[in-house]
Amino acid sequence: MALVLDKITKSFGEVEVFRNFSISFSEGVITCILGPSGCGKTTLLNIMGGLDAPDSGVLEGFAGKRFSYIFQEPRLLPWKTVRENIEFVLPEDCCCDAYASPASRAAGRRARAEELIKRVELDGFADSYPSQLSGGMRQRVSIARAFAVQSDVILMDEPLSGLDVALKKTMLQWFTQIWQSDRRTVIFVTHDPDEAALAAQETFVFSAAPVRVLEHRA
C-alpha cells in the first residue's frame, strides 16, 4: 500500500502550484520532501491532511486514515498545560474500550499523555504552561501530541526551522527514536538537506512552482 496523489492541480489565484502532479509515498517509512521555500510543500501537506482541497486530481489510499500534523509553529493552547494540550487532541475513547466509564477514559487519556511526555523527555513539565517552556521544548510537546494520537500518518511542516543547528540534530535523533517504536508513515517537509539526510529513508527533491520532482532517492 502507498499514499498516492494522482494528477493533482492546484492554483492560488494566478499562481499555479501543482499542474498534473503525481507522487506516491511508501507507508511505514520517513519520507522527506526537499525544496525551495514557497514551492508548494506546505500546500501538498495540507492537501494530504485534508486542510486544503485540490482543484482537480485523485487521492488514493487516504480513505479511513488518521493524520497527525506537526506544524511549523508548535500551535499549543497557551491556557492549557503540557499534559492538557496533549489530552486535548485525544479522542474520547482513544485509550480504552468502548464500554469504559468516563473516569477510566479520562485516566486512559492522561496515561497516554504522560507516556508521550516521558518519551520526549519533558518529565516534570507536565503541569507547565507553554509560556514557561523554551521554543525547543514547545516543539517537543507538539511532537508528543502528534505521536499520542493513534494516527496512521504524521505530516511535518519544517517543525525545526526556528531552532539552532545543535538542537535540530538532537530533536531529529529523538524523533527517529520515538518513531522506531511504531514506525508510522511520516511525510517530512524541509528546505534543509542536512535534516533530510539525518531522518529520511526516502527523499523527494521538488522544483519551484509549478512543482516537478527533480530527484527521488529511496
Partner: protein, 253 residues
C-alpha cells in the same frame, strides 16, 4: 491587565483623595449652607447613619439585586450572541444593527419608554440590561476576531468536536475581552440602574432614596447615598479583578 500601584503611587493616590476632601471642605465653607453643600465630615457621619439604619440592607440589597439580574442576563446574552457572531459572519451582519441601536439610544429615552411598559421594580433592570448587553457583546465580538486561526485549524485537524473547540479554544482566548467588557458594563450599568430607580421610584432602591432626599433638600443624604453607590461599584470592580487574575493566570507566566 492593569498593573498594580507601587508604594509611591499608592501614596500619590491617597494624596489625591485628600485633595478631593479639602476642595470639598473649602467649597462647603464658602457656601456656608447645608442646603447647598454640607461638609465632608458631616456627610461621612450621614453615610454611617444610613448604613446602620434598619432598612439599609433592603434598600442597597434591592438595588444590588437589580444590578445582578440585569447583569446576569446581559452577560449570558452578550457572551453567547457575541461568540455566535464571531463564528458566523451572517449572524454578525444580523446582530450589528441591533447593537448599534442599543448602544446609541440615550439612556433617558430607554428609561422613559420603560416607564410606560414595565412595573417600577423592573424598569431599572431593563435599563441596566439594555446598557450592559451591547458593551459585553461588542467586546466578545472583538475578542473573537483576535482568536488565533492557526489554533482553531489545529483543533479541527485533530477532529476535536465543535463544542469543545468553542469551550476550550475560543472561550479561554476571549476571556480577557469578556472581562474588559464586563468591567465597563458594570460601571455604566450600575449608574444606569440608579437613574432608572430615580425615575421609576420603586419601594426600595438607592435611586429612590436619592430622589426623596433631593425633594426634601436633604443634600447630605443625597451625597451620602452617592458615596455608598460609588463604594459598592468599587467593591464590584475589585471582586471582578480578583476573579480575572485567577481565571486568566496563564497570561502571567
Amino acid at each position: 491587565m492593569k498593573a498594580k500601584f507601587n508604594g509611591r503611587q499608592k501614596w500619590i493616590a491617597a494624596c489625591s483623595v485628600m485633595l478631593m476632601l479639602v476642595v470639598w471642605q473649602l467649597l462647603s465653607l464658602y457656601y456656608k449652607s447645608d442646603f447647598i453643600l454640607p461638609g465632608p465630615w458631616q456627610t461621612i457621619v450621614k453615610v454611617g447613619k444610613l448604613i446602620c439604619s434598619l432598612d439599609f440592607l433592603a434598600v442597597a440589597g434591592t438595588t444590588i439585586l437589580r444590578g445582578l439580574i440585569g447583569f446576569a442576563i446581559a452577560a449570558v446574552l452578550g457572551i453567547g450572541l457575541g461568540i455566535w457572531a464571531g463564528l458566523s459572519d451572517n449572524f454578525r451582519a444580523f446582530l450589528t444593527p441591533w447593537l448599534v441601536v442599543f448602544r446609541s439610544t440615550p439612556v433617558i429615552a430607554i428609561a422613559l419608554l420603560a416607564l410606560i411598559w414595565f412595573s417600577p421594580d423592573s424598569v431599572p433592570v431593563f435599563i441596566g440590561l439594555l446598557t450592559m448587553f451591547p458593551l459585553v457583546c461588542m467586546n466578545v465580538m472583538d475578542g473573537m476576531k483576535s482568536v488565533d486561526p492557526s489554533l482553531v485549524e489545529m483543533a479541527e485537524f485533530y477532529k476535536v468536536g465543535r463544542r469543545r473547540i468553542i469551550r476550550e479554544v475560543y472561550v479561554p482566548a476571549i476571556a480577557p475581552f469578556i472581562y474588559s467588557g464586563i468591567s465597563s458594563a458594570i460601571g455604566i450599568g450600575w449608574r444606569a440602574i440608579i437613574v432608572g430607580e430615580v425615575l421609576s421610584q420603586p419601594k426600595y432602591g438607592i435611586g429612590t432614596r436619592m430622589q426623596t432626599a433631593q425633594t426634601f433638600l436633604n443634600v447630605d443624604a443625597l451625597i451620602a447615598w452617592t458615596i455608598i453607590a460609588v463604594l459598592l461599584s468599587y467593591g464590584f470592580e475589585s471582586l471582578l479583578r480578583v476573579s480575572e487574575r485567577r481565571t486568566v493566570r496563564w497570561i502571567n507566566f
